[in-house]
């Protein structure tokens, strides 16, 4: 229980730092550490597949992509953040933690559940035969992401052409 709480605290602290850091590199690294904590939590909750994906893809691959992108960008005009955001975000965050703590503490102990049979077959079989629609939707999400990049970075290409 203590380890679980420590892991959750680590996850929350590093997620918060990822938002609060102004240095993009530090923010990306904080996000990676937060993902690492989440991956460990997944392993401890008997979700090894989720843990492997979280650590390899989110903590690993995505962090590498972030760092590469940051390395490729040049320092240009500093962006000033609105002062209100500095006050509102931490306040909202603390309020959320308090409400979340109170609700979930009493809720988690009361959640009744039906016995559910373990999903038969390997991870691949479950994904392919039982959650096939989710795969279609994930293709849609990836598709939307790729098309968004094509649409939103088009101006730069145009400038280059000129």
């Amino acid at each position: 229980m203590v380890i679980q709480i420590l892991l959750l605290c680590g996850l929350i602290i590093f997620s918060g730092l990822a938002i609060l850091f102004k240095d993009l590199l530090k923010a990306a690294l904080s996000l990676a550490v937060a993902s690492l904590f989440l991956g460990i939590i997944f392993f401890r909750l008997n979700a090894p597949y989720a843990g492997v994906f979280e650590i390899s893809v989110v903590a690993g691959l995505i962090t590498v992509l972030f760092i590469l992108t940051i390395a490729l960008t040049k320092k240009e005009g500093e962006v000033e953040e609105a002062k209100l955001a500095k006050v509102v975000f931490p306040l909202f965050f603390i309020l959320f933690l308090i409400i979340d703590g109170l609700v979930m503490k009493s809720l988690l102990q009361k959640v009744p559940s039906l016995p559910s049979g373990p999903e038969a077959g390997t991870f691949g079989e479950v994904l392919w035969k039982q959650r096939t629609f989710d795969l279609v939707a994930q293709i849609g999400v990836i598709f939307a992401g790729v098309l968004a990049v094509l649409a939103l970075f088009r101006k730069k290409e145009d400038d280059k052409d000129e």
Partner: protein, 492 residues
């Protein structure tokens, strides 16, 4: 074939960026509009089978191998598919001319089609987690479409929209997770059955609260509405029409009420909470709309207010209330689509959306002025236009259920609606024309044609109210009113 609603837009979207390299305008225009016309035709063809059978459950095999690609179609989601196809076809027709100054049509259409595929998928899947995933498909495409203009306002609005939408998705996912934890399943049928076997009133109550926060944010109900008046006006006009006309209803209203009616079950307390939220949205947003000078911002506030009407009708829970709510959903999708497209025409013609700068345009642009008047009067509920009937049904349903206070507020809010729409009409189209607008011309052909089609639908549905109501609205309302029993009979 029911799957075509998801597969065809995704397939066309996949090829459009490649086609766009060879043909920048004509082929993307034709292909997108043909795909959407096919979907509209397909939804009309499905009316008869749904009328006869009630529900269609379809499975797809992957080269003979059994996989879990299953969709369940009843009156409610067929009605939604028809609304999505009809309004998006008109929006896509409008885009033919409107997008000339943006360029990159192929990319735009591809994103639009992915968004439509996401909405269709959300409407068709009988599974909680798949709903969440298709919600994200539509949402990711819409973030990019809001920012499509690449200006400062567009990017800022898109970022704000993204942040609040992520919070909304997180709440929805949290609710789904708890239901999965309790029932060990994600399909509507199994979760509905599981919840009936469990005595878990309070936990289900918390789940519903998460769903209301999540989907309420997507539907922009007051007090979760802050993102909408920024996001919708900043987007290109066709996207504003998509977002206000369709997306908030599909990813907010449809998802919320499908889960509440078909999985969890409506209770009197929940009904009261949702009715109160709907009424607050209706009044607060109407008052906020009155003070706006930007046409699109005023329309955005109006969307929040009209979603309030839809929620009020659907939350009432009586068959007539549900029918009124659904009918208003359709009428608002058509009329608000029309009004946002009209605002695009105004901006295209004059270069501004500021009501204080406009005036007297009606003499120079009679089609835009006329269609705008039809859309405005329909939403405000003036007879014999479509919006009048839906508002009337909602009010009658409220009176029948002895909710006199809500009925009175609904009528008063309708007067407010008429007030701010007449304000737009007077400031933009009536009065003396300013010298700088003396040489303006009517909007290009396809923009005007799309507006005229939508205006004609407002008039046609108003005049031929009975057959439209019988064909589309009644089966949808029946499917929803049957609630959990309907889902348990699906035979999945």
């Amino acid at each position: 074939m029911v799957f075509s609603f998801i597969v065809i837009p995704l397939l066309v979207a996949a090829f459009l960026p490649i086609i766009g390299k060879f043909s920048k305008k004509l082929v993307p225009d034709v292909l997108t509009n043909a795909a959407l016309a096919f979907l509209l035709f397909n939804s009309i063809l499905l009316v008869k089978p749904i009328f006869n059978q009630g529900t269609i459950v379809q499975n797809v095999n992957w080269f003979g191998e059994k996989v879990n690609l299953q969709v369940a179609l009843d009156g409610f989601n067929l009605f939604m598919l028809f609304t999505i196809s009809l309004v998006s076809l008109c929006i896509s027709l409008f885009s033919i001319d409107y997008l000339e100054h943006y360029g990159h049509k192929a990319n735009f259409y591809a994103l639009l089609l992915v968004m439509i595929a996401g909405m269709n998928g959300l409407v068709l899947v009988p599974d909680l987690f798949s709903i969440y995933l298709f919600l994200e498909v539509a949402a990711v495409a819409s973030y990019a479409l809001v920012a499509f203009g690449l200006g400062y306002d567009e990017l800022e609005a898109s970022f704000k929209y993204l942040m609040l939408s992520v919070v909304a998705s997180a709440f929805a996912l949290l609710g789904i997770t708890i239901l999965f934890g309790m029932t060990g399943s994600l399909s509507f049928q199994a979760v509905a059955q599981g919840l009936q076997d469990l005595n878990a009133r309070y936990v289900v109550g918390v789940c519903v609260a998460f769903f209301i926060m999540g989907f309420g944010l997507k539907a922009a109900l007051v007090p979760f509405h802050a993102w909408l008046p920024d996001a919708h006006p900043s987007a290109p006009a066709p996207i504003s029409a998509m977002l206000s006309g369709l997306l908030i209803k599909v990813s907010g209203v449809y998802a919320l009420f499908r889960i509440i009616y078909s999985v969890i079950g409506m209770t009197p307390v929940l009904s009261q909470v949702l009715m109160a939220l709907g009424t607050i949205s209706m009044v607060v947003a109407a008052l906020l709309a009155l003070g706006q000078k930007d046409v699109k911002r005023m329309l955005a506030y109006s969307s929040i207010s009209q979603v309030g009407y839809i929620v009020l009708g659907l939350a009432l829970g009586t068959p007539l209330g549900i029918a009124g709510g659904l009918f208003h959903l359709f009428n608002h999708a058509v009329a608000k689509g029309l009004l946002f497209l009209n605002s695009g025409s105004i901006q295209h013609i004059t270069g501004t959306r500021n009501l204080d700068e406009l005036g007297g345009l009606g003499k120079r642009v009679p089609i835009t002025a006329g269609t705008n008047l039809v859309g405005a009067l329909s939403i405000a509920g003036v007879p014999p236009l479509a919006g009048f009937w839906s508002k009337l049904i909602i009010v009658i349903a409220l009176i029948q259920a002895k909710q006199f206070g809500y009925a009175l507020v609904a009528i008063l809010a309708s007067i407010l609606t008429l007030w701010y729409y007449l304000l737009i009409q007077r400031k933009a189209f009536f009065g003396k024309i300013s010298e700088k607008w003396l040489h303006i011309k009517e909007a290009p052909f396809w923009m005007s044609a799309a507006n005229v089609i939508l205006a004609l639908i407002c008039i046609f549905v108003g005049i031929f109210f009975t057959p439209v109501f019988k064909t589309w609205i009644s089966p949808a309302a029946e499917a929803l009113a049957k609630g959990i029993q309907q889902v348990l009979m699906w035979g999945i």
